[in-house]
C-alpha cells in the first residue's frame, strides 16, 4: 500500500509529507511548488509504508505537466490522504468529490486549521465526515497539531459514499460547504491593504521595483559581509597555514602535491592561481560562492514563503507575454538565479511545450546562477561597478530580445495566466531556516564534486599540454571573435562542467576589463553546466535540446562578438 498526498495546489501537502516521513521537501507559499513526485517512508502499524508527495491539482483533468505527473500517480492501488484547505473548503471539495467518484480509499486532512480559526471560519468536522463518508481530521501541518490522530485514521481509509451528478459537482461542493461551515468575522484590514497595493499595476510595479532593488542590496550586503568578516579571515588565518603545512609534507612539489595544493606562487598559496583541489577548489566553493548562495536563499525563501512571488508573477505577466510565456515563468527565472538545476524542473508549471521550451532556453542562456554571479562580482568588482552593470544589463537585454524573437518565430502563442493568488503569510521561521539549510546542503553535495572535477581536469589539461592543442583549435573564435587571449580556452572548456570554476580560471590570465566583461557574458550564455544540461535534456527531449543548444551557441557568438567590438571602440569609457 502506498499513501498518496493529493489536494489542491498550495494547501500544505509538502509540509504534511515532511512531517510524516522526515524527508524534507521544498514548500513555499505559491501554487506549483512541487512539480515532481517525491517518495518517503513512514512506520505505521509495525509496517513501513511508502508515502508520496504529489504536485497539486484542482481537478483530475491535468492542465500543466506538473498536474499530469499527479494524475498519472492515481491509477495504482493506493490510499489517498486528501489534503484540504480549511480556509477554502468549496474549492478543495471539488477535487474531493472527484476522488470519491473514483472510489479510491481515502481520508481527509483539513489543513491550515490555524488559519481558518484566525479568519473566523468554523467547520463542523463531524458533519462533514457523515456527509462524505470518509474520516476527516483537522490538522496544522506547520506545528504538527492533529498528526497523531491523522496517522491513527489511516487504517480507516475507505472510498467515499457521496453520490452526485458529474455536471452538478461544483454546485454540490458549494452545498456541502454551506452546510458545514460557519463564518464569524472577516480578515484584518492591514493585510488587505497590503494585498491590494502590491497587486495593482501602477503602485504594485513601483513596490516591485523597490523590493527587487533591496533584494539585491541585501544579498550583496550579506554575501560581502560574510566574505569579508567570516570566510576570508577563516581562510587566511586557519586554512592557508594548514595547507602550507600539508604542502611542506609533500615537499612542495610533485604531481600529487599539484593536484591537491596546486602550484605555489613564490612559495605561497595564492587562491586565485594555485588551482589545487584543497586550495582554489575549497576557496571558490566556500570562500566566494557559498556566502552569496546562502544570502540568496535566505531572501528567496522569504519571498517564497511570504506569498510575494505570485504577485510578482501577475505584475510581470505583461512583459512575459511578449516573450512567449506568462507571468508564472518568473518562478523558474528567480529560482535560476540561485541554481539553474531546480529552475529547469520548475518550468513544468508552464502549460504548453512551447512555453517550457522558451522558458528553459531563456533561463539557461541569460540567467546566471548565484555561483557564477558570486565569482563574476569577485572578479569584476575590483574594477568598479561599471563592468558589472554592463554584464548584467547585457544579459537582461539578451533575455528580452531572444524572448521576443522566439515568440515571433515559433508557431503557436503564449497561453493565458490563470492563477490563484495565495494570502500573505508571515514566514514560519523554523520552516524557513530548514529550507535554507536544505538548499545549502544540496548545493554543497551537488556542487563540491563538480568543482573538484573541474579543478582536477583544469590541472590535467595544463600539465598534459592538451590545453595548447585545444587553444590552437579554438583560437579563431576565442581570439578572433571574442578578443580574448588563447588561454581563455581552458575557462570556456571547464565552463561546460561548472561556471564558478570557469570564472575562477580567468583570474590568473590578467585580462583587461573589456575582456573580463566579454568572457563573463559568454560563459553565462554559450552552454549550461552539465548538471543543468542533463535535466534540460530529460525535460525537453533530444530534439528540442539540440535546438536550444544551437540557439545558445549562435547567440553567444553574436553577443560576445558584438560586445568585443563595441568595448574595443568605447572601452576607454569604462577604464
Amino acid at each position: 500500500m502506498n499513501l498518496l498526498l493529493m489536494g489542491n495546489p498550495n494547501v500544505g501537502k509538502s509540509v504534511v509529507f515532511s512531517r510524516l516521513t522526515g524527508v524534507h521537501v521544498i514548500s513555499s507559499n505559491y501554487p506549483g511548488t512541487t512539480v515532481e513526485f517525491t517518495k518517503g517512508y513512514m512506520h505505521f502499524d509495525e509496517k513501513t509504508i511508502e508515502v508520496i508527495d504529489v504536485p497539486g491539482v484542482y481537478t483530475l483533468e491535468p492542465v500543466s505537466k506538473a498536474e499530469e505527473v499527479a494524475c498519472e500517480m492515481l491509477d495504482a492501488d493506493n490510499v489517498v490522504i486528501n489534503v484540504v484547505n480549511a480556509t477554502n473548503l468549496i474549492r478543495s471539495l471539488n477535487l474531493t468529490l472527484q476522488l470519491i467518484k473514483k472510489k479510491i480509499p481515502m481520508i481527509i486532512a483539513l489543513n491550515l486549521w490555524d488559519e481558518a480559526k484566525h479568519t473566523g471560519i468554523q467547520i463542523d468536522v463531524e458533519k462533514l465526515q457523515q456527509i462524505l463518508g470518509v474520516p476527516c481530521i483537522p490538522i496544522c501541518a506547520l506545528t504538527g497539531e492533529g498528526f497523531k490522530g491523522l496517522v491513527l485514521k489511516i487504517k480507516d481509509a475507505k472510498p467515499g459514499a457521496y453520490e452526485y451528478e458529474e455536471h452538478e459537482r461544483l454546485h454540490e461542493a458549494g452545498n456541502i460547504t454551506e452546510s458545514v461551515e460557519k463564518i464569524t468575522h472577516r480578515h484584518h484590514k492591514l493585510s488587505e491593504q497590503l494585498r491590494d497595493a502590491t497587486i495593482s499595476p501602477v503602485r504594485g510595479s513601483l513596490i516591485a521595483l523597490i523590493v527587487l532593488f533591496y533584494t539585491f542590496q541585501i544579498i550583496r550586503f550579506i554575501g560581502e559581509g560574510l566574505i569579508n568578516h567570516v570566510f576570508t579571515p577563516l581562510f587566511e588565518n586557519l586554512w592557508t597555514p594548514l595547507m602550507l603545512h600539508v604542502s611542506s609534507l609533500f615537499g612542495g612539489v610533485g604531481f600529487i602535491h599539484d593536484i591537491f595544493i596546486g602550484r605555489l606562487i613564490d612559495g605561497k598559496i595564492d587562491y586565485n592561481q594555485s588551482f589545487g583541489l584543497l586550495t582554489t577548489g575549497m576557496f571558490i566553493e566556500f570562500g566566494v560562492v557559498l556566502p552569496y548562495v546562502f544570502a540568496f536563499y535566505i531572501i528567496l525563501s522569504f519571498l517564497e514563503d511570504s506569498g510575494y512571488l505570485p504577485r510578482l508573477a501577475v505584475l510581470s505577466d505583461n512583459i512575459m507575454h511578449r516573450l512567449g510565456m506568462h507571468g508564472m515563468s518568473i518562478i523558474p527565472m528567480m529560482l535560476g538565479l540561485g541554481c539553474n538545476v531546480p529552475a529547469s524542473l520548475s518550468t513544468r508549471i508552464m502549460d504548453t511545450k512551447r512555453e517550457r521550451f522558451i522558458a528553459s532556453t531563456l533561463m539557461a542562456i541569460a540567467v546566471p546562477c548565484m555561483a557564477q554571479i558570486a565569482m563574476v562580482v569577485g572578479l569584476l568588482g575590483k574594477h568598479g561597478e561599471a563592468g558589472l552593470w554592463i554584464v548584467f544589463v547585457t544579459l537582461f537585454a539578451v533575455w528580452i530580445v531572444l524572448g521576443v524573437i522566439l515568440n515571433r518565430v515559433m508557431s503557436g502563442e503564449s497561453t493565458e495566466m490563470f492563477l490563484e493568488i495565495p494570502p500573505y503569510r508571515f514566514p514560519y521561521l523554523p520552516g524557513l531556516i530548514k529550507k535554507v539549510w536544505m538548499r545549502i546542503i544540496w548545493f554543497i553535495r551537488e556542487g563540491v564534486p563538480w568543482i573538484m572535477v573541474g579543478i582536477f581536469i583544469a590541472n590535467i589539461l595544463h600539465t598534459s599540454g592538451i590545453i595548447e592543442v585545444i587553444a590552437k583549435f579554438t583560437q579563431p573564435v576565442i581570439c578572433g571573435i571574442f578578443g580574448l587571449p588563447v588561454e581563455a580556452a581552458g575557462a570556456l572548456l571547464i565552463g561546460f562542467l561548472r561556471k564558478d570554476v570557469a570564472v575562477g580560471m580567468l583570474a590568473p590570465l590578467g585580462l583587461t576589463l573589456p575582456q573580463l566583461i566579454v568572457s563573463s557574458v559568454v560563459l553565462t550564455m554559450y552552454f549550461p553546466c552539465v548538471a543543468t544540461f542533463s535535466i534540460l535534456l530529460k525535460e525537453l527531449g533530444i530534439r528540442d535540446m539540440l535546438k536550444a543548444t544551437g540557439i545558445m551557441i549562435i547567440s553567444s557568438l553574436l553577443v560576445g562578438g558584438m560586445l568585443n567590438l563595441i568595448l574595443g571602440q568605447c572601452g576607454w569609457m569604462i577604464r
Binding site: Y58, T87, F418
Partner: protein, 90 residues
C-alpha cells in the same frame, strides 16, 4: 460610466470592462468548453459572484475576488467572461 462595449443589456460587461471594486454575477462564458472548464477549477462558473480588484494595464492580467480568494486572469481569458454588474464601481 462609458464603455466601448456594445452590449445589449446595459449592466453586462466583460471582466476587462468592469470598474475596480465593481461586483456582479457571471452570466456567460464565451470561447468554448475548454475555457469554461479551466475557469471552473477556480470557481468561476455561471452564477458565481465576483468582484473586480484591479484594472489591467497594457493588456495585462485582471485580478478578481471570488469567495475568499483573489484570482489573476489573463487579459484574453477575462474578455470572455460576461458579468452582470449589481453594484459598486468608482
Amino acid at each position: 460610466m462609458e464603455h466601448t462595449d456594445t452590449q445589449s443589456k446595459p449592466n453586462v460587461f466583460t471582466i476587462v470592462d468592469m470598474e475596480p471594486n465593481q461586483a456582479g454575477v457571471i452570466v456567460e462564458i464565451r470561447g468554448g468548453q475548454k475555457i469554461a472548464s479551466r475557469l471552473s477549477t477556480l470557481g468561476l462558473v455561471v452564477g458565481a459572484n465576483i468582484k473586480k480588484v484591479s484594472r489591467h494595464i497594457l493588456q495585462g492580467p485582471v485580478v478578481v475576488e471570488t469567495g475568499r480568494t483573489q484570482i489573476a486572469i489573463g487579459f484574453g481569458m477575462a474578455q470572455k467572461v460576461l458579468v452582470f454588474c449589481t453594484q459598486g464601481g468608482e
